[in-house]
Symmetry: D3
Subunit: 312 residues, 6 copies
Amino acid sequence: MDVITIGESMVLFTPQSPGPLRFANTFEKKLGGAESNMAIALSRLGHQTGWISRLGDDEFGLYVRNIIRGEGVDTSRVIFDKSSQTAVFFKGMNPGGDPNIYYYRRKSAASNLSPDDIDEDYVAKAKYIHLTGITPALSLTCRNTIYHVLHVAKKNRQTVVFDPNIRLKLWSKQEAGHVLQDIAKQSDIVLSGIDEGQLLTGKDTPEDIANNLLQGKAHTVVIKLGDKGALLAKEGYQQYVPGMKVNHVVDTAGAGDGFAAGFLSGCLRGYDDIQSVELANQIGAHALSVSGDVEGYPYWSQLTSNGENILR
Amino acid sequence: MDVITIGESMVLFTPQSPGPLRFANTFEKKLGGAESNMAIALSRLGHQTGWISRLGDDEFGLYVRNIIRGEGVDTSRVIFDKSSQTAVFFKGMNPGGDPNIYYYRRKSAASNLSPDDIDEDYVAKAKYIHLTGITPALSLTCRNTIYHVLHVAKKNRQTVVFDPNIRLKLWSKQEAGHVLQDIAKQSDIVLSGIDEGQLLTGKDTPEDIANNLLQGKAHTVVIKLGDKGALLAKEGYQQYVPGMKVNHVVDTAGAGDGFAAGFLSGCLRGYDDIQSVELANQIGAHALSVSGDVEGYPYWSQLTSNGENILR
Amino acid sequence: MDVITIGESMVLFTPQSPGPLRFANTFEKKLGGAESNMAIALSRLGHQTGWISRLGDDEFGLYVRNIIRGEGVDTSRVIFDKSSQTAVFFKGMNPGGDPNIYYYRRKSAASNLSPDDIDEDYVAKAKYIHLTGITPALSLTCRNTIYHVLHVAKKNRQTVVFDPNIRLKLWSKQEAGHVLQDIAKQSDIVLSGIDEGQLLTGKDTPEDIANNLLQGKAHTVVIKLGDKGALLAKEGYQQYVPGMKVNHVVDTAGAGDGFAAGFLSGCLRGYDDIQSVELANQIGAHALSVSGDVEGYPYWSQLTSNGENILR
Amino acid sequence: MDVITIGESMVLFTPQSPGPLRFANTFEKKLGGAESNMAIALSRLGHQTGWISRLGDDEFGLYVRNIIRGEGVDTSRVIFDKSSQTAVFFKGMNPGGDPNIYYYRRKSAASNLSPDDIDEDYVAKAKYIHLTGITPALSLTCRNTIYHVLHVAKKNRQTVVFDPNIRLKLWSKQEAGHVLQDIAKQSDIVLSGIDEGQLLTGKDTPEDIANNLLQGKAHTVVIKLGDKGALLAKEGYQQYVPGMKVNHVVDTAGAGDGFAAGFLSGCLRGYDDIQSVELANQIGAHALSVSGDVEGYPYWSQLTSNGENILR
Amino acid sequence: MDVITIGESMVLFTPQSPGPLRFANTFEKKLGGAESNMAIALSRLGHQTGWISRLGDDEFGLYVRNIIRGEGVDTSRVIFDKSSQTAVFFKGMNPGGDPNIYYYRRKSAASNLSPDDIDEDYVAKAKYIHLTGITPALSLTCRNTIYHVLHVAKKNRQTVVFDPNIRLKLWSKQEAGHVLQDIAKQSDIVLSGIDEGQLLTGKDTPEDIANNLLQGKAHTVVIKLGDKGALLAKEGYQQYVPGMKVNHVVDTAGAGDGFAAGFLSGCLRGYDDIQSVELANQIGAHALSVSGDVEGYPYWSQLTSNGENILR
Amino acid sequence: MDVITIGESMVLFTPQSPGPLRFANTFEKKLGGAESNMAIALSRLGHQTGWISRLGDDEFGLYVRNIIRGEGVDTSRVIFDKSSQTAVFFKGMNPGGDPNIYYYRRKSAASNLSPDDIDEDYVAKAKYIHLTGITPALSLTCRNTIYHVLHVAKKNRQTVVFDPNIRLKLWSKQEAGHVLQDIAKQSDIVLSGIDEGQLLTGKDTPEDIANNLLQGKAHTVVIKLGDKGALLAKEGYQQYVPGMKVNHVVDTAGAGDGFAAGFLSGCLRGYDDIQSVELANQIGAHALSVSGDVEGYPYWSQLTSNGENILR
């Protein structure tokens, strides 16, 4: 197993046309969830990936499991929870305004995740452990689960990759900052947006944020800067890596998760850090040009056959 | 004001084609909620109706309020709750099996309803108060609200109509039975299905159920018997009223709420009880022949212009 | 009552994809009508509004009434006309060309509006009377109705706001110019586009048009100049008020009606004229960014919560 | 040319799901019109057919012309009328009730048809002239056109087939009865439903209706009796021809027009009258099993290849 | 591995409404293929199943692989063929007539299957080998592949289950009869419809067909008799097993494949033959009540939780 | 007859939303085919056009024939082929990438076209013969058919217009180059894109390509240069003709065919060559602004009524 990730996936309902949600008559059913997005992107790039979660023992749970399994991600450790439902959410696009996003994930099946759900032997086989800042916001048992996984990873000397993914609909800035700083300090690689980094560190510039994050366990920090690319930072070393131009941005959802998958794919292929960030930029850019979270992630064969500038 | 009702309305999502929900790609947005169904049916029949509830301060809350207000129901006492969301639910039709129904109403805006939300002056103006057994199942504050309304109605000598509408997804049989018996005993008119009546009274036959329910405050009990019509029971009097034939039943949702509206319309028009049950049967039958909860309720002008057998 | 308006609303059918209408397979049903647009926009901004009209006693009439009533507009004076149908129209978008617009409103229910339909007591309660140049084009009885309302308003010293809304599909330039000049001269506030103003006055520049219009009863004239904002003119005073930038114009329909609603909302709130034109620009801009006539009008709470620059 | 017909075709809008039209969100665009239905059915059966009409010089007119021309019907005499629009209508299915049908054909392009539009040389080439009772109801010029065509047919000794198709939304019973009796008397073949026959003749039974209609010019009368088949009547001869069983009737629209086409096809093939009625029954039955007016009419090759019992 | 199957899966396009395909405007994309149907049904019943095939190296190939993999079927031996495309087919429902079915599978990727594609070690691990009569009709290399698998199965003493699934659009009756008789004689279990059995054996009655098929290697023959159930035949033993009643048959596609899956599930669970046929009937019946090939197959937990009469 | 063309038309399925085809749930049915595109565009411009082809004797064949016939193109020489199917293809739009195009035309009905299908008398009546480089790529009999038509045209001194339309999915560059050079040399007018011209001639610049092509029989060569317009070349004469500006290019499909139609329309109207190229540019530009191959081609009346700069 190359990478294991843990988190909640939901059924996403999006209206068939933009505008305020109350005027939408028909909605399409899709998949949403940062961790499964990352796992799917990695699987398309040719890596063995596992996703650990709980789903409701219901039609939506089967849907989510089958879609993710169909993408080649190992779902053998997914638990169907008879006591709670699979979460759903709605997302409406408002031209010239913020999207309407409504979560229905309170007391969801995934919020029941607990340390006992973690099969240590399974986790121990992965080269990388991918965690986000969403899971610890879902419930106390979820938070304990993440700490338990950090403990397992430490015991087995595995590399932990952390993507803060701060969701202020789920908890307060203060609580998020406190917990996520703590997790970031115990992670080996941190991939953070600029806003998230400010909340995590209290610093303003990419350089200062990166330096702050490097004071924990992390040996590598990448600050994502949107269309400007990313800042790669290691102890005593900082380097800007320019982004890819995307002519027509259709949907930013899933871009950050694709970035993480691209970076991890680079690591797994033995790329150097700069090359891994370049690949991360590339996968993130693909996600931007297609509607939906996962629809835009490329297969490895597509990257190479299109003559794109992949390094080796 | 003729009738005031209190309860939760939700956004209903139904797939555009039958079959297991996990295979449905597109869903339509509709309105669901027993109490607002009843209020809409009554409004179409020409009566002044008010609906009291809480909705989320969100797109779905505006949708629900505007649809109900558009049907002519007074929504001036609806509160938009900034702390919670409007509930949603999903319903999938399985030919040859039970429908898939998934509620996302936990901690919804309506579950925050409390006695303080009740404007006594407003309630006191209604001739009839309509209550269902759903509201007291939503939360403790909702239950207290129902008891408070019973108190207000008693104080003002208003007629309380109770429709048990037992939802075993919301509470246990035992808890439901305990609370709803208590409410039934404080109601003046009870309209109950046969299964509900058995749970409420422990009796088996329509006659025994009705007799049991008449031992409380109720002066009139109607036991709904589906296509067989209904049993009308008053103290020392029982009479079967045959149902209307419906050639092609499309959707049973909303039929019970239409029955209640028809019965109340009869009462408001000064019909005798038999005639009111006949009108109840008729409105319920209309609901059966159209997909959706409220789409099938007729306008009073439609009933009379089609030459249907309305009594006067 | 804050504002009363009078006019025809229709069912609008728009194809689900752009291109010539003959290739469109599916159409969506929506609401159209300048006066009800204005009333809906005003209602969302928190004002009491009434809409007077005739509708066919048919499914489309019920649809139009319920949608408008659902938006909080008073429809108690709407008459369902058994002798005529509710009007419909079709609108197809042609990229790089004019839209196809086909009206089916000849001898519609609304064209039967007559002075007798006007409840003087009802009209007399409004602070403002809103009229457009569409209604007098529908029929002779409609034209008489508008003159009758002008008379009532004068008698009751009410403020008349006039939006010419010239529709050359309904009458000739000559006839339109003649009638609308006459109405403009009897109005207190005139809100006119530049093309309309040229037809009304024979003048070319915003300044000259405004001056000409101020020679009637009007004390305030606003010339709408699209993305350049508007010219506010009072006797001996002219001031340009810049427009709001809209990044992506989706649909211009409904923008003028939103402008009128914004201006009236400013007046009702006691804004000064400049501030009212700014609010008018703002509401008009919202309409531009969403498909459909009324879908883009904001609620007052949305304006203030988004931190937009509302004056007080 | 085998058959020429004259009449109005319209764009038909039908909702994608059944129920009251006001709840339908999306509508499909189709073709409607009794005379073009008949012409299309005949064309599929292998005959040369021409359709004379006026259409608006608009997108809907092009749509109607192209669909009919695409079915192989000659449309060379269709006039695009710059002064009026192509008519539209809406049809909603109500399970357990009458359909909602709303016409928007007042002052339509087709209502401008006048005797001058008739190219006598063109009409004179047809073996049969097909007329319905709809066209004379559209306008006075339309009525004159029908009389003019009767005159042309008489002059050229052509056979006129008349299908009353009474539309009481277009005129009164009295006016319809008066005009259509007159046309029936000048026709050679009359194909009438039982209700229509009663209105035309004042008689009650199929036999009496047929006898009455045979007192005019007609040598052949067929009374259509739905699933019971039809009564064939000639002077001194009456014979019942049983209908075809249709297991699942989906849509009755277009069945009568298919009946006329089947009968004419039999005549053109030299079938005897009984055989022609059998073919009429068969084509009518095909129309019943498919949604839409023309979708169900078979090609001649389909009739024969399916092993259906065609006579020769 | 419990069962391995080999065959072609295609993308199925079905119109959103019934009627002749030429009038359908929109089509839905689904999965079709007898062997993958069977594998999916078995997987839902809790068994380890593998599907061997070739797919085009294209979007449709990815779709087919991911759907099947998502259902839990092992697709590790599926080959993406760069030289050919994934097959597609269209199916339109004609009420009261045969469906329109059009295959576009000529020279498809699956038709390139050849003996070299068979991983003997993989095949040898399965308890049962499932073959249909479709694969040998696709191409000569496909036919050789089936014979090669028969040879492998024989070598490894595996049980071969054969479902003739005769497709006369792919080859002649004569060629089909010749090849499929030969395969049937080398199979251990034969599951055949009555028409297929007649073509295979030249016999007429279920009993005679079964006896004839038992003269080959087969120790068990089941003749499927639709709603009448099935005839189970072993040497010297024949027993009718009644079918399950299905109130509303929606779609017969996939029922035969579900029957095979049910029978194999019974065998794998150690049921006796009668019980296995009963389970086969049950799974087939589920397929009938839902539109689509695979949508109706139940999960094992659904069978038991619904209180259906499963034997142990 | 003004122009006769020969080639394959197919049913085109396009997804209702952009993105990779495997995620598309619903597809729309349209028409595709370079030669019928050209014929339809010419017919709308007012010219008599005939299209020769073979279609499957199936629903899709009827669809294609009826659509083309409905556009006014003569289809009397289209043959319905009982042995083969109508071809289909799928086209998915990938924002920021090449479209997915999958043809299913192998051994299609049109690929059975042979010289015997050509009615010489019919062909001989046309002023122009339009050929593309697609047809000779379909099969050997198709290639022979094109050579046969060249022979017929030569015999009858008809003008042959050749549009290479190179499809490298159908044959190799080498084979295409060899055959198409040969056809180009026997044509009177060659309309070629720049890439096509390079493949045909081995030259790089428009000027060199044109000079090379003028060395065959051609008296006129036009090199299409996209939004830069076109190079008109005759012996000893070369002239650039600027293109029309298109603000928002929606779909480039059909633009080249529209260019050919515009050029031929100019020739038929007696325009000089420059004017004909201008008209060609104009028709091509119309195609760009509408989705679909043929939806954007204008009627002649639309060109003139919109006040576009048509030369006379």
